[in-house]
């Protein structure tokens, strides 16, 4: 388990991380969402022991990360600005990583290269941006670490590749308890990959929840009441947000699905339906409650 307690990182006058306290449990895909400059990369670099925090600490299973090689051997960091040796081939990079990661699996590396259709003997400098990202993921998976920290790794990957990576992650999570931590500024790209999402904004975590909890706990009701009744008048319905367009009401409510259905069944409605919320809508709703305009935060609208 990765824990950050009051993690603070400053760059001169800029506070990149402001007392961030978070927990990343093992065996789940942790998504870190936030706009550019929110502190995602800084957070990941602190997790990776690249940056030394000014305050607070980062621990993996209780052991501090910074300058602890044994702990650092448990994760693999894929930077948003990947580096490969000049003139190196994928096989050269594998040899290099094998020096540092004792459990680096060369056979798996070659197999994955083949599956992804990458030539192990071709110079990496001739690879496209997407191919380099694929190579980074393959190297990370072959390193057999407990954690993989991906900084904007999936942005720009085509859906097929994303699906392939997702299945590989799922496979490793099931087989050996891999915990990927994925940072992205695009919530829509993370939705189908993450189990847990943390929203980072201006150096602080606004929200950190399991996606299932988020999805299960919040619902959208679209309905047309037979009478002039207002949704707020429905007793027992925990309304988060309510909009109406003509007689059509869109109500976002918190609570158990069965209970909400039971409450709505009692009302006189022309029709009603419960629609699952997208992760984006949940975030918008939850953070608006917290007083933030998430459309601006996440979508930049």
């Amino acid at each position: 388990m990765i824990e950050t307690v009051s993690l603070t990182k400053r760059f001169d006058d800029i506070v990149a991380l402001d007392h961030v306290t978070a927990t990343i449990r093992e065996g789940q895909v942790f998504g870190l969402i936030g706009t550019n400059g929110a502190g995602k990369s800084t957070f990941l670099r602190c997790l990776s022991g690249i940056y030394k925090p000014e305050e607070g600490e980062v621990t993996i299973d209780g052991a501090p990360v910074y300058e602890h090689t044994a702990v650092k051997e448990r994760f693999f960091f894929i930077s948003d600005d990947q580096y490969f040796f000049p003139s190196a081939t994928p096989l050269d990079m594998a040899s290099s990583y094998a020096i540092y990661y004792r459990h680096f699996d060369r056979e798996r590396f070659k197999r994955l290269l083949s599956e992804f259709g990458l030539d192990g003997h071709r110079k990496i400098s001739t690879f496209s941006k997407g191919m380099k990202k694929q190579l980074s993921v393959i190297l990370a998976l072959s390193a057999h670490t407990d954690y993989i920290f991906c900084d904007e790794t999936f942005d720009g990957l085509d859906p097929v590749m994303r699906q392939a990576v997702k299945s590989l992650f799922a496979n490793d999570m099931a087989e050996r308890g891999l915990t990927p931590v994925i940072a992205s500024h695009n919530l829509r790209e993370l939705e189908d990959m993450c189990d847990h999402v943390g929203l980072l904004h201006k150096g602080g975590i606004l929200l950190s929840k399991d996606i299932d909890d988020l999805k299960l706990g919040v619902h959208k009701i679209q309905c047309v009441f037979a009478s002039e009744k207002e949704p707020e008048q429905i007793e027992g319905l925990e309304i988060i947000k309510c909009e109406h367009r003509g007689r059509l009401r869109t109500i976002i409510v918190r609570g158990d699905e069965d209970r909400i259905r039971a409450l709505m069944d009692r009302e006189e409605t022309v029709f009603y339906e419960l629609i699952p919320l997208s992760l984006e809508e949940i975030f918008i709703t939850e953070t608006e409650v917290a007083g933030y305009d998430v459309k601006k935060i996440i979508l930049g609208e």
Binding site: R45, K52, A70, K72, F76, D81, Y83, Y100
Partner: protein, 704 residues
């Protein structure tokens, strides 16, 4: 660790190959080119030998072949020792290249992410990178070195000094180590390549700059004079690049191109090893604490920004003030100082922040720097601490020394305590002779006047000089000294052990007032004329200079001269050789003894007036018609017109006293390829009656 080093070398193979290429050119190819030329010459002699191998010519040819063989050995040793190539030039370039290859990753975010996220401690990463860079140089150097051996053997070279060569190469590696570590430190202190380059220049140049500033500003003091090594000259040693020159100089003393592993060199190697160790420790520490986010910033450590701005801007202001000094005006000195501070501070702000808008973002700091630079200049221009007025209390003095011949450049030829230093370097084929005057006033430095009346006389003279000096502030660069003034250097040796030197400027009347009293001191005379204390048994070769010019030879051939005429050469041209040759009187023991005793007696009896008669009455000019420097004087002595003894050599006027006999105390020191000859020159003055009598007794005729 080994795997990491192997990996580093693998990905820096290009640099290694470049290093090998350069070293192969510097060592075996360089050696082969030189040896082949010598071998060709030797072969040509061999042909000559076969054609005319009889009589004296065969001996000469054989000797030349032997000499060429020795030259081949010497050339080989020179190349192996690193003094016969471009190693001194290669090392700084190699240091920069190796450091850049191994530590450039600290400058880029992608590489910092890559290396710092790996499960390797920073120390281990540093060690691997550091050793890899070192190995690139070491492998290149050793390869070049080793490849020299078959080349030398192929040319049949014998007598290679491999031990010396290896030790010498070790010294060069230590120089490399210092420079390499310095560049690494510069990289660690900065986050951008251009900043690291600037840091290397600053680290290597700051000592020189402080030295230059001190040298220039100390001259604001009218009484400042430099003897020995001023403390700021030692600032050279803060510059790592200086050690290349220092090492080369010590390794090849006295213009010899062959390395000599003297204790002096070994000491320097130890010093360099110690400094390297300290630099490595500093680099390790910096690497450990260097923030990874520093890449992209001009300075890696925010704490260094302010001190750097302050130091650079003050230094920049003081250096720019030199423009004001050459403008010869106090106003301009201050103007350029303050302007320099503002410009350099603003530039530092822009570079550090990488933002032109930050030009004057620390105005108070700029003002403080300006005030500091202003204050520094004030100290030298207005002398508030009384440097020029300083004259110690007699009670605080252990001894004093005084030098009347302050202007050594013009008068050294008649400065009795100066000594001529001459050496010859004999190569098998050519004889190179270099002759020059050593300007060190040894007599002054060794003089210790302790007797109270003479000490008081010196202090009175000093008070007079200090009074002149303290009344003058900055007089400008061009009219620093009055033409009619006389410069007198005084050394105060204090009871505390320190020595302070001052140069005073006195008028003719003041010199005539104070100097006769001081000149009467035997402590003064003994220091100025070391022959006074020279025991007869320690007297080396003793000679009398005589004229051997064409005119003299002609007169002698015509029977008009007896061959024992003594004079300085009246027809001297611009060549030192024309000053005459030396009669060897060493066989005649009684003559030697009497002459020495007479000289001692005459010098002891000599008065200041005797000394002065011919000294300051001469004015001279170059006569185009006669092609000689001629003297014009008010003195009766010179009214006859053509006065010998005044020579213009390389536009410097040298005076030799008229009616003088030049005697030399010579002894020789021979080395492998050189001979030294030291000469103390004692002219004979008009007042030297005893000497003249002895010379006359032994048949020598004073032509002048």
């Amino acid at each position: 660790m080994l795997k990491m080093i192997k990996e580093d070398l693998h990905y820096n193979l290009g640099t290694l190959l470049l290093g090998l290429l350069v070293m192969v050119f510097n060592y075996p190819i360089n050696l082969a080119l030189q040896l082949s030329e010598l071998k060709d010459r030797m072969d040509s002699y061999m042909v000559t030998t076969e054609m005319s191998w009889d009589g004296p010519s065969s001996f000469v040819v054989a000797e030349k072949i032997t000499d060429l063989g020795e030259r081949m050995t010497r050339t080989t040793n020179m190349v192996l020792c690193g003094t016969g190539g471009l190693l001194a030039l290669i090392i700084p370039v190699a240091a920069v290249l190796c450091a850049r290859c191994m530590f450039h990753y600290l400058m880029q975010k992608s590489t910092v992410d890559f290396y710092m996220s790996e499960p390797v401690s920073r120390q281990k990463r540093f060690a691997a990178n550091y050793i890899s860079g070192l190995l690139i140089m070491l492998i290149s150097l050793l390869t070049g070195f080793v490849l020299c051996l078959p080349v030398a053997l192929a040319y049949g070279v014998e007598g290679m000094e491999l031990g010396t060569a290896l030790a010498s190469s070790l010294g060069f590696m230590l120089v490399f180590l210092m420079l390499y570590t310095t560049v690494i430190i510069a990289i660690l202190l900065c986050g951008r390549t251009f900043a690291a380059v600037a840091a290397v220049i600053v680290i290597n140049g700051i000592g020189f700059c402080v030295y230059a500033v001190m040298m220039v500003f100390m001259n604001f003091f009218d009484t400042y004079i430099e003897y020995g090594t001023p403390i700021w000259e030692k600032l050279y040693y803060t510059s790592p690049i200086y050690y290349i020159f220092e090492y080369m100089e010590r390794l090849t003393p006295r213009s010899s191109s062959i390395a000599v592993m003297s204790p002096e060199v070994l000491r320097l190697m130890l010093v360099m090893a110690g400094i390297s160790a300290l630099l490595i420790l500093l680099a390790v520490l910096l690497h450990r604490i260097r923030p990874s986010e520093a890449c992209g910033s001009t300075l890696a450590f925010p704490l260094t920004r302010r001190p750097l701005r302050v130091i650079l801007s003050i230094m920049g202001g003081l250096l720019l003030s030199f423009l004001g000094i050459y403008q010869s005006g106090v106003f301009w000195v201050f103007f350029f100082t303050l302007l320099g501070v503002v410009i350099v501070h603003a530039m530092a702000e822009i570079v550090i922040n990488m933002d032109v808008r930050m030009l004057f973002c620390h105005r108070i700091e700029t003002a403080i720097c300006m005030a500091a630079a202003f204050g520094f200049v004030c100290i030298f221009v207005f002398d508030p601490f009384g440097y020029d007025a300083y004259v110690p209390e007699a009670s605080s003095l252990q001894s004093v020394a005084i030098s009347y011949n302050g202007d050594f450049e013009e008068r050294r030829a008649i400065s009795l305590s100066d000594y001529q230093y001459e050496y010859e370097t004999e190569h098998p084929e050519d004889i190179y002779t270099t002759e020059y005057w050593d300007g060190q006033p040894d007599g002054f430095l060794e003089m210790a006047i302790t007797e109270e009346p003479y000490v008081d006389a010196v202090l009175e003279l000093a008070c007079c000089g200090a009074e002149h000096a303290s009344g003058v502030n900055y007089r400008g660069y061009e009219d620093y000294y009055d033409e009619d003034s006389y410069l007198i250097d005084v050394a105060y040796r204090l009871r505390s052990g320190s020595v302070r030197y001052r140069r005073y400027e006195l008028s003719r009347a003041e010199v005539d007032e104070y100097m006769p009293g001081i000149f009467a001191s035997m402590e003064y005379k003994t220091a100025m004329y070391p022959i006074l204390e020279l025991p007869e048994e320690e007297l080396g070769l003793f000679g009398i200079e005589y004229a051997d010019d064409a005119e003299g030879a002609r007169l002698e051939a015509e029977g008009k001269l007896s061959g024992k005429e003594i004079r300085t050469n009246p027809y001297a041209s611009r060549d030192w050789d024309d000053f005459g040759s030396v009669y060897d009187i060493n066989e005649d023991q009684s003559f030697r003894r009497e002459l020495l005793a007479a000289l001692k007696q005459d010098i002891s009896d000599m008065r200041f007036e005797d000394y002065e008669d011919w000294f300051y009455t001469v004015d001279s000019g170059y006569n185009e018609e006669t092609g000689r420097v001629e003297t014009f004087s008010d003195s009766e002595l010179y009214k006859e017109g053509d006065v010998p003894g005044c020579y213009l050599i390389d536009d410097i006027i040298y005076y030799i006293p008229e009616t003088s006999v030049l005697m030399a105390d010579m002894h020789y020191e021979a080395g492998d390829n050189y001979t030294y000859e030291y000469r103390d020159i004692y002219p004979v003055f008009d007042s030297f009656t005893h000497v003249r009598e002895v010379l006359s007794d032994y048949g020598y005729v004073d032509q002048d």
